[in-house]
């Protein structure tokens, strides 16, 4: 059945060329890896999805993490030791991330790991570092990591979680007696956002008129729109993330949803707004950890923007970039306080740390190691109201950080 189509002589030449290529590849593998930096460096592993749909966010994270390392190295490092950042591509795949983290720990002997963007990747890295007693600072947004089941005393959560963002967004958009509808991605992260919105909604006294779960990663949302319109809500909460969010908002706008109700999302992403355009996002309200425009109200933000601009030819840092910066920088501050990389001492220092890196005071709560921090509520600007290409959002509110924003330690299952 299987017959070679080309003549044998042709085949031989091409085969030889291919084999030559292969052996060249084999040599590249066999070549000794580039010289290891002196053993007294402080090594920090940084898995991030350089390939895949969040590559832009990942690149921002890397730039900001490198900035944090550079600033510390310029001042002499950690007790004279240079800091080295080992960036690895986790490909937005939990299995890949776990493998890369194993390599970072076993082969590169890192002192700590910072990073991850998706919830699944964060939990995979957490599983690896927890079993091996390695410090991990997560910069992915999720409620799961705070719960006792996945808790590790070595893991710190620098990012916001859906509970915090939904509460802040609801606070500034819901009113008593308002009718609220929900469109929710049917997976853990979507359910976390829905739970957050519903809790805030109950506290404010708004009424739920219905919720629709959609399959995670769906490309078409048109089939949900007639039902959402027929619910006649005042506010539509779209609880999904990334591409799902972009597609859902775009199609809701096509169906004329914005003429009837306000669209609200838990997290408004800088790069996603760029990917979809100003007209579609106009008037959409959502939460954020950081927005560069904060520089007019916060000195920390102005300093961070300044340092980033200086290092990156005038570009501005994005929301996920700021996570990369504060995740690495807070860890390095703790290492400085602990006088080195001894794991228990650094964990202790992180628990005691009070830091202000990008937007105001932050600290890690003792029971679940969640970073207590301010939450921004942003509204996407109309195209004509934008002063320049980076002027995407108006800041509606900047809620100062407080432990009241978080779910209580006992609710999360931690001993109090």
């Amino acid at each position: 059945m299987q017959k070679a189509g080309s003549k044998p002589t042709e085949l031989k030449i091409s085969r030889r060329t291919a084999l030559a290529g292969l052996s060249a590849g084999a040599m590249a593998v066999a070549m000794p890896r580039l010289g290891r930096a002196a053993d007294d460096t402080v090594r920090i592993g940084f898995p991030t999805p350089l390939t895949g749909p969040f590559a832009a966010e990942a690149r921002d994270q890397v730039k900001c993490a490198e900035l944090a390392v550079k600033l510390v190295n310029d001042k002499g490092g950690i007790g004279g030791r240079k800091v080295e950042l080992l960036v690895r591509d986790d490909k937005l795949n939990a299995g890949e991330a776990a493998t890369r983290t194993l390599e970072l720990i076993e082969k590169d002997k890192v002192h700590a790991v910072v990073g991850a963007l998706s919830s699944a990747v964060q939990l995979a890295v957490n599983e690896v570092t927890r079993a091996r007693g390695v410090i991990y600072v997560s910069i992915s947004q999720s409620d799961t990591i705070n719960e006792a089941k996945d808790f590790s005393k070595y893991t710190f959560h620098e990012a916001l979680n859906p509970h915090m963002t939904t509460a802040a967004v609801a606070q500034h958009t819901f009113k008593k007696g308002m009718k609220v509808a929900h469109l929710v991605a049917d997976y853990a992260y979507g359910h976390e956002m829905l739970r957050g919105f519903k809790r805030a909604q109950a506290a404010i006294g708004a009424d739920s008129v219905g919720e629709i779960l959609h399959p995670f990663g769906a490309a078409d949302y048109s089939t949900f729109m007639p039902r959402l319109m027929s619910m006649r809500p005042d506010v539509l909460c779209i609880s999904n993330f990334g591409r799902d969010q972009a597609n859902a908002i775009k199609q809701a706008v096509d169906f004329g949803v914005k003429q009837q109700m306000k669209i609200v999302v838990p997290v408004l992403l800088h790069n996603q707004r760029l990917a979809v355009g100003a007209d579609v996002f106009e008037g959409v309200v959502g939460g954020a950890n950081y927005y560069w425009g904060l520089e007019t109200q916060s000195k920390s933000a102005a300093d961070f923007n300044g340092a980033f601009r200086a290092a990156n030819g005038g570009a501005i840092p994005t929301d996920y970039g700021a996570y990369g910066y504060s995740g690495v920088a807070s860890l390095l501050q703790a290492m400085q306080a602990a006088g080195g990389t001894d794991t228990d001492k650094v964990v202790d220092a992180l628990e005691k740390l009070q830091y202000d890196l990008t937007k105001g005071p932050q600290h890690y709560r003792k029971c679940d190691h969640q970073s207590v921090q301010s939450v921004l509520v942003l509204e996407s600007k109309k195209k004509s109201a934008m002063a320049n290409d980076n002027d995407l959002f108006a800041i509606l509110a900047n809620d100062a950080g407080s432990e009241d924003m978080l779910r209580s330690c006992s609710e999360l299952g931690h001993a109090t």
Partner: protein, 291 residues
């Protein structure tokens, strides 16, 4: 449940089905004539959307993008057939499938290099922005345009295949390529044209879907799986099969979205499994060809 909602839901299902039909059509035509499963079909859909967007921004009009992108990408498809796939005729039927699978990696990554990994906004043409009041509810003007457009393409395709000399050669070539060669028809050129047509249809699907979805390098992988399911249900190689199955899947998804929205994706696969158990060769295929 009120009737107007059901009508609206039916209409969204047809609009969704229309995009499925156009993508499945290219896949099924190429298989029917060449016996090649184009695994890069989803990637062609994606580069079609990018080409449409690029050409639209270059010419300043969505309509030029809609017209030129399928032609350009269709020509690219012919180049692929001429340079790569042609070498594999006569070898195992798996080889073109494997080759196009590798090709899809190259195309997706190529687009990432050229246009970046983020999505790019594809604005709806200004004439088609907004909604139409249908009495039972509001429906986006653009989606109605998509339904009309797909119907027009189907009519054109039918006319070409049934009423022209080229169509005659194509239909005969699908049935028995050896006899065609004996009769002095250059079957290689027919295959080249058909592969180009299949790819052009994928690209057209991409341009049409662009304003409804965000345009990004991964948009094709989902489409590929959907197109596979539709062609399997309809019967590989069958054009009426692709049309009926596309609409059937679209409407099923839409109706399930009304009662159990989180199951909307699974229903498509369940439908396929059911069809396979009853008619393994698909709804519109004659037994013996593939099963």
């Amino acid at each position: 449940m009120d009737l107007s909602l059901i009508i609206m839901q039916l209409l969204s299902g047809i609009a969704l089905g229309a995009v499925l039909v156009i993508t499945a059509l290219g896949l099924t035509i190429v298989f029917g004539m060449l016996g090649v499963v184009n695994f890069a079909h989803g990637a062609m859909f994606m580069i079609g959307a990018y080409a449409g967007l690029y050409l639209a921004s270059l010419t300043g009009s969505f309509w030029w993008g809609l017209l030129l992108a399928p032609i350009l990408i269709g020509a690219f498809g012919m180049l692929i057939e001429f340079v790569l796939i042609r070498r594999l005729y006569g070898r195992s039927i798996d080889d073109p499938l494997l080759l196009t699978f590798g090709l899809s990696y190259v195309l997706v990554e190529g687009v990432r290099i050229l246009f970046g990994s983020d999505g790019i906004p594809f604005p709806t043409p200004s004439q088609l922005i907004g909604v139409v009041d249908l009495g039972v509810g509001f429906f986006p003007r653009y989606r109605i345009f998509v339904i009309v457009m797909v119907a027009a393409v189907l009519v054109l395709l039918w006319l070409m295949l049934e009423k022209t000399r080229i169509g005659l050669i194509v239909r005969a070539g699908a049935r028995d390529p050896v006899i065609m060669q004996v009769l002095g028809v250059d079957i290689g050129r027919v295959w080249l044209a058909i592969f180009g047509l299949g790819v052009a249809l994928a690209a057209l699907g991409g341009v049409l879907a662009g304003p409804m979805r965000s345009v990004n390098p991964e948009m094709g992988s989902l489409v590929l799986a959907e197109a596979f399911v539709v062609t399997v249900i309809g019967g590989l190689g069958s054009i009426p099969g692709a049309v009926v199955a596309g609409l059937l899947v679209g409407i099923s998804i839409s109706m399930v979205a009304l009662v159990a929205p989180e199951m909307a994706t699974i229903v498509m696969f369940a439908l396929m499994a059911a069809v396979l158990l009853i008619r393994p060769q698909g709804l519109f295929n004659v037994r013996g060809r593939v099963a």
